[in-house]
Subunit: 444 residues, 4 copies
């Protein structure tokens, strides 16, 4: 019969990655229908992507039907898998997420600090809304969320819904795995790394080659000068090798936003003055990509998409879907319910952790306690995620102010308040919980 | 028979506070002998203090014998209580603790961040040494440590000794209690506050007046514009009232070093340029105090001492000793072994917590879990304390670098390393663990 | 103004103990009004007790007013303290609790096993009902529950109400303290014991004399042949001294129902055949006591009451009330909310634990983890208490069957069901939750 | 090159099962050498088994070399996998384990209560000895222990060695899986059950068919009259269906020794009077089996072996070895280090739990908390296992007495001591730790 997949935010520039992923795996993962859903504001992009997707499928000769719609509820009916890659407020909102904090000399990264905070406030209510639709229209479907900030969103789903078939996904652990394989010059298949932590704050804890513990070797490699394993969209400042030695685990590249916050801020401020924010760079990249996508002769994913920063995005998503569909039982890293997997984080919180993927969905491996060296910052960011999730759902401004201020990237409660007020005003239309007078519970 | 008390660091400018405290309480706490101990570098100050102490005792007409010595082991023999208020490297070391970080635009406060880190590295080995002497010479004595950073030192004692009669003490909770009484305009005796957290990161969690829960009233008062309850030695920047409302607990003034780190840094930098560091201000204050102390007509504690910042210091110390001696069973706030008192901090770590004080020493009250709003930063600083304690004992530079870098006040591992190296060099003579080639285990 | 105390179950033969306790302490605890409340079935006894109480008060010359009523709600209005010492179904119900299990060769003790289980089912709904009245009529009153099974009832209150001013009280720890003082031949005031565990499953964990740790001495004394510290109402079988040595803590006498279950059962069965159950013995004792009480010349508590088994009952209750009223801050053992006090029991369960008693009520001391030797059985009985509490409130027979069967004194699920059915039938009138067809959720 | 397997206790009547298992899987698990090791007392049986094994291999035509030796150290050299299926003291010791308790009307089952306790005392030192040899001679080998009591032994290895490559294995979970498949009438491959608990005290917690949660269906099936899923060697008394409904999980058959202890004891006592103990029945069965094994015409595993009670034994062992060797990543149930897998059992204890099996060995799935209904008894038995492990290693009689007495099957400390003394005397030659005057630390 085949599988029905629904991709919400189908007009994203990343979608061709996903299409390619499904095409490549058609023999094992027969996607019968792929529904690309978007909202009115994204109609034009959705149509471009839809047309490209059809050309790609035809070129590949697989019997996968591409459907394009603005009607989310129609699309969801009977779905087997739903993926979300939406961006509330589009890139213009992200530009504000970055510009406003930077104008106060505060980091405005889109998943950490003030930027991530506001992205969370805008996105969480939309995801909870999608979940309500799924519970009604396709309750057996798995929801695989790729939208950032993935950790905060998973936390919100755990705290504010009873939906059990939610999986938060991120390509960072896969990138770390690939990067370490390269550093060690071994086939990635031979390497196994236990990952645990939070989204964008994940650590490689143990390292095995062909089943043998290679901690010493791996940690040595990570101290080499060429070890800036990093995502294309983070400026790859090298770590102090002794600091890595002291941590004795592999930090994810986003840790730079904390353990190098001063340097990262300086760079961002310089870029801000010169080229504008990362969001503006991305906006230009997207414009160029869509120009390519419009070309009726383009029938495959264009190379330029890789520069966009989504390496392994398609692999992460398609492998996860395929492992569930095929009951494969391999180990992948997902954002899910902790329940003791990371023993020194709260039982009921969201964690990003190596998990076995079967028909029953992900089941976290027991990774024990995070080492003392890293549990401190992880616990702190978990507080930030939980308070933000609660603020997003309640629309309570006091909660929002508190959530923002406990983030270590905010230099003071004084500045936190200024940023909060400017951003609430700027994003007003995407924050109905905060502006609905009946719902708003706190006043700042 | 009376009690034998030994005060290590007896040449401190604070000592007259302590003398006054013992004199005032002689009827309930008959201190027969008070030994003031110091090291060769402090001989002159010790003599000044010793002479003043004798005049004070004589003036008060209590039969308390004052002994002055540089021989710590002689003093400890048969002691009932030992208090430590030493400063390894004297104020000159503190000046470096502040100047070096500030020269890299990093906060150099003496109990937090890089300053506290280095004070910890210098002090922990000395305290462990004193404990070894106590275990040999007066194993039934209680060691009451007033030396900063008190939390880190308590952590080190728990991790690296089996000594059970150690109590870390700080005047901050008492100051918070007094400040809140004043805000509420009530007799401090009628108010009860449950405190929990870490040293210089402690929170008032619950508030009772005459046995009745007054959380609402207390939290309202703490949001008033006049609520800058603070220690004289912290610049009393007001908190955002809504942030306090969101926290729903009373933060200790030192939290400003984290939740206002940007503003505090700016102020410190400005002061640094204008008047020099806080340490230099204190040094001048001390010079003036000792001039007063030398006056043979001075027979009581001079008023000027209060400006020095040790409000309630004497009360905290004398009340603790008296409650143990008299099996009083009142509630005081001390640094001690957690064992579940704060349920979401590690079982075996040091906490600052409301405790019943009896002949058996302090027994923490069960305060439950710290609220989500504050557990994040507390857990992070606990990591910093634990790693610093281990670095101090091992003399391992990699551990030291890691400990310093996980502190959120360090802007980057790059800057952390520069500060570490400059300070290791500057404090070399007080860090034998790091410069003894046989002991040093790591290389930076 | 004085204090208003309400005693529910005022017609109990124990009440003269309480009256005597209040009279003795009138100088520190001025009870202005003491209301004795009972139900219609207890009217006659209540009147006897009321008359005796009035004679006692008059004889003592204290201005304490005794009020006697069947109207609980009238009595509760404006109360400061409420004590409960009721017995649902009177001694006749207890006779069944003992006879029915014994008839199947199963222990029928009134607080453990099948007997305690049924006492719990009958009593919990009544206590919850009283709490609803208190919340309405005197929400600031403390409810001090002396009714057995005190642990199960405290658990039920924690799980099924939001009432915070509940304290479960038992005279067993006081009896253990007194017994150990006697064994050590020291004034009880000089001895301090840390108690923790569950009601009727409590342990003396640490032992101090004049502030000094005397574990060795205390444990040696507990192995002496004369160490059958026990309550009058438990047949005092001696423990194997080496078993006590291995435990390295002081078990409460009721542990015999588990660690000597075979021997206890044999004795009970023999008694059952000869003199009838303990309940029948008590019934006869009570009859004799009430005969004495009726004597208008009796103006003080008669000596014979002591044989009844309530040693220290009055002291425990009056001391607790006095410490709250006088904000005394002494350490007493109560049943209350765990919250980490006993670190290896669930955070949210009821424990019996040494607590400081102030105006704010009891605050448990942090006692750390129960030793491995005893945590196993304690955790098992906690399961029994929790399941029974839930069964009592829900009236669910499947839950009830499960609760009963997990108790280690039940020899098999087969026998458990037989006892359940016989007792449900026998106690039918006192188990409305199980027989109200609308409420009953399970069917056996 | 192929694999080298060493089977200690190779003379066991179960060995042909294992041989058959290896033969069947030769294509995926090329065992080059299988060493059967035994001790002098088992020489004759070892030779019979060795000869049969060779005939079986020859008949099957696989190039697996069978080696037979009494020299354990020679065998271990360079081994890849070591399996242990030894029985210290042979069946004669088991006969005593059963007879002595039963003579005092106490259950004498070989893995629970007094029988399991003594089997543990005899076996733990031998396993620790084997581990010392492995650490020296083949440190990369996996030790797969099939010897009972497997939970206690795993606990002892965790508490008293640093050996990481130990896996405790039992066929009970596989039997439960098969039994439930049969009850549901579905292919076992389609069913997935999450198992967690302790050895012989394990529970099926969640049930999935083709990835779908079928708890309701599974629990209904388990309440059917034909649901006596059981091992051949346990008398299959049916559970009360409502009790199973109340538990809402699937208990392993051995729970009957606790939740039906009265009935099981009656049966055992009756059998004891009629046919002798289970051990004697088994001894006769073994005699018959060895008669068959001696027949030179026998070239395959005889059918009669199945009656012996080891169903799935060979499958469990061979599948585990094959999954490690082939990095298969399937889910199997093993005894291993908890580390949070079962969140409400101690972090550092041994648990039996569903685990992914890869080249790195087993990694437990995070199963969350055991339900309240079962955690009580599980925690109690964990105490018994831990105390027994410590007693076995220390040879301390006080510890031994305590361990035995906390087991709920022991009717009283009085009887516990009698059994302890009789059994210490009876098993004297297999308990050197207790009879070596230099080592013995306690005296009873």
């Amino acid at each position: 019969m085949g599988i029905k997949v629904v991709t919400i935010g189908g007009g994203s520039s990343y979608t061709p990655e996903l299409i390619e992923g499904f095409i490549k795996r058609y023999h094992e993962l027969p996607v019968r229908e792929l529904w690309l859903v978007d909202i009115e504001e994204g109609r034009e992009k959705l149509e471009v992507i839809g047309a490209l997707a059809k050309r790609m499928v035809e070129e590949a000769g697989v019997p996968m039907e591409i459907k394009v719609t603005l009607d989310r509820r129609e699309a969801l009916m009977g779905a087997d898998f739903v993926t979300t890659q939406l961006r509330v407020g589009l890139l213009d909102a992200r530009i504000k997420d970055e510009r406003i904090p930077l104008s106060h000399r505060v980091l405005g990264q889109e998943t950490n600090g003030a930027g991530g905070f506001f992205k969370g406030l805008r996105t969480i209510p939309v995801i909870l809304d999608i979940i309500r639709d799924i519970e009604e229209l396709c309750p057996e479907a798995w929801l695989i969320n790729f939208t950032n900030p993935a950790g905060m969103i998973t936390e919100a789903v755990l705290r504010h819904t009873d939906f059990k078939r939610f999986i938060g996904l991120c390509n960072v652990p896969l990138g770390m795995h690939m990067g370490l394989s390269q550093l060690l010059d071994v086939d990635p298949e031979r390497l196994r790394v236990d990952f645990a932590g939070l989204n964008h704050m994940v650590f490689g804890l143990n390292f095995y080659l062909d089943g043998r513990d290679i901690r010493g070797k791996a940690m040595d490699a990570l101290q080499r000068p060429d070890a800036h394993i990093s995502m294309a969209n983070i400026m790859a400042e090298p770590w102090d090798p002794d600091f890595i030695r002291g941590l004795d685990v592999m930090p994810c590249p986003y840790l730079r936003y904390y353990w190098k916050h001063g340097d990262m801020l300086e760079k961002d401020l310089k870029n801000f003055e010169n080229n504008g924010t990362r969001a503006e760079v991305v906006k230009e990249l997207e414009r160029e990509l869509f120009e390519l996508y419009r070309d009726p002769k383009l029938k495959t994913k264009p190379k330029q998409l890789e520069e966009r920063g989504g390496a392994y995005y398609s692999d992460a998503a398609c492998e996860l879907i395929s492992s569930i569909y095929n009951d494969r039982g391999d180990i992948q890293v997902v954002n899910t319910h902790n329940r003791g997997a990371v023993a020194n984080l709260p039982y009921d919180c969201a964690v990003e952790v190596s998990s076995v993927i079967t028909k029953e969905g992900p089941r976290p491996l027991t990774v024990g306690e995070l080492p003392e060296e890293v549990i401190g910052i992880v616990r702190q960011i978990k507080t930030f995620e939980r308070l933000t999730a609660d603020a997003a759902v309640s629309g309570d401004r006091v909660k929002a102010l508190t959530a923002l201020n406990v983030n270590p990237l905010i230099p003071s409660d004084r500045v936190g308040r200024i940023i909060l007020e400017e951003m609430l005003t700027s994003h007003r239309e995407y924050l109905p919980n905060f502006f609905n007078t009946f719902k708003s519970k706190g006043e700042v």
